[in-house]
Amino acid sequence: MYTFSNRFKVFSLALIILGSLGWFYSYSKSHLTIEEVKQLLAEESHHGSHAGDSHSMNYQNEKHHNEGVHHLEPHSDALTHGNDAHGHDAHGHEDEHAEHVLHQIHNRPYAALYVAAFFFMMISLGVLAFYAIQYASQAGWSPVLFRVMEAITYYLLPGALIVLIIAIIGDKHIFIWMDPEVVAHDKIIQGKESWLNKNSFIIRGLIYIGGWSLYRYFSRKLSLAQDKAKDNKNFKRNFQISAGFLVFFMYTESMMSWDWIMSVDPHWFSTLFGWYVFASMAVSGITVIALITIYLNSKGLMSYVNDSHLHDLAKFMFGFSVFWAYLWFSQFMLIWYANIPEEVTYFVTRIEMYPIPFFTMFCLNFIFPFLVLMNSDYKRVPIFIIMAGVIILIGHYMDVYMMIMPATVIDRYGFGIAEFSSILIFLGLFLLLVFYSLSKEELLAKRNPMIKESENFHY
């Protein structure tokens, strides 16, 4: 049985507190006045294109304005979250530009917090789906890992609620369609209003979270009850609800990805977006299962986990990395090939303004795990799994970052205090909840009908 040491508790709490302080600092720093922004812009153009540590480029900023016209965006200003975008007559071009930059700087702490919150929620949700698949397929190899998976999904309810709350508080700072000013001047968003309105956004969000959490609650309860039971009734029941949950999950996961991610670019849409987000979810979730298992194993708490279990987890990490790359590329290639203006802006923004993170992310998420985990023997060596796992997690954080940031802060991006402290907050919370849950029950689901097979599993 795992005991959650006080030192670890204090460490996770310290992460949360440190992160919160950092975030509020960056938040207070982001409240510039329009005069300060103008001064900033003047300094930037004075220094040339590379100004400050925010990777911002004046040249690109201008370019973005031209792009809006070039790509037939009817309301290019909509992209910049300018809620005063239609004061053309009142301000000159300079003022308008400063205004946009001001909004982007305002948006950054919200967006940074949202990216980190979503990333950790996504890990938990990916594990929940993976766990349900293990039950629904009655997999024989994985029951020794069930308690680890259940512990990770403990984070789902609070984590997902926090994402929803940040989305609502962040409001127009993250979701431009939540700004009535913008919607009033945007025919395309008006057409989508029956789906993209705040009330139904909240209701849908609560339905998703409610459904996932209900499944998680009952499945965990049945899994624990099975340990004390004399028959396999609980196991069978768990099998049934897992299969049911997977159907519910397929729909809600896809809709969740439209709501919580795709709608940050309300003009843009992609039909395989749900799958693409799911691939990210699954690979980061399985990676975290592997990392926590290796950690517990190194403490001698999971002696029944052998290198064949690690091998299987690493195979999934490898497989889902390739699957992610496949979907990522499928989405990219069709849009790139068809070159339809309203679709292609998505990648134009990302490749022109985020060239380095865009291609780095692809290397980290595909090429690195592909080469490291390709060899069968390496999949059994913890150090290789840890190495590939850490890179995969960094890569998928960048993936979420690339989904949210280009739509909220446009070219005023970077990896600074706001992003770093947001990660600290949610990393702390994640560790706190997951390891608390791990310490609650024994680490082996000892009366699971498959447990014998799982313990003796060898490849």
Binding site: F329, M333, W336, Y337, A338, N339, M374, N375, S376
Partner: protein, 180 residues
């Protein structure tokens, strides 16, 4: 090795075969070959065979495949006959690369798969019109055959084989079916 004798021991269960092979190995007899109707999991480890190197070959074949695809598409679409497809008449392979990725992928898989199969056949000394080496047709149905070459006394070996669960033990006198 004039005194070398060849024995064929037949088994009818893969689990019994595995434990028998372990026992034969423990008693220091040389197993020449085992014929089975299907791949027996873990047999290579018990027999002490070296791990397969086909994976390394597969990786090399994949690299060959992706190279062939790149050169081929570069010649077809860029050098020899550039076309304006989807408004992308750039004469650069790199700029048009996304369009060629499916071909690169397929050619990688194609080369890896086909060359791997061919390698496997050659390595197993199999080619068209080759006569079967199989000493007993029952090994294609439900029997497992262990071939042992030895110059130790045959009584002890026969006893060992019978104890290990062999359903039939034959001494091979002529080498009609044996290509060695």
């Amino acid at each position: 090795m004039g005194s070398e004798k060849i024995f064929h021991a037949l088994y009818n269960d893969d689990d019994i075969l595995l434990s028998a092979v372990k026992k034969i190995k423990d008693n220091h007899y040389d197993i020449e070959e085992i014929y089975t109707p299907f791949p027996v999991h873990g047999l290579d480890k018990v027999m002490g065979l070296e791990p397969t190197r086909i994976a390394i070959a597969a990786f090399i074949y994949g690299c060959i495949g992706i190279t062939v695809a790149t050169l081929m598409m570069n010649y077809i679409m860029i050098v020899d006959w550039p076309q304006n497809i989807g408004g992308k008449p750039s004469f650069s392979y790199l700029e048009n690369m996304p369009a060629f990725v499916p071909i690169m992928f397929e050619m990688t898989v194609f080369h890896a798969a086909h060359l791997m199969v061919i390698t496997f056949y050659l390595r197993s000394k199999m080619w068209p019109l080759k006569e079967a080496e199989n000493p007993d047709p029952r090994t294609t149905d439900d029997h497992f055959l262990v071939e042992i070459h030895t110059n130790k006394p045959e009584g002890a070996l026969k006893k060992l084989l019978r104890e290990s669960g062999a359903v039939e033990i034959n001494e091979v006198k002529d080498k009609v079916n044996n290509n060695e």
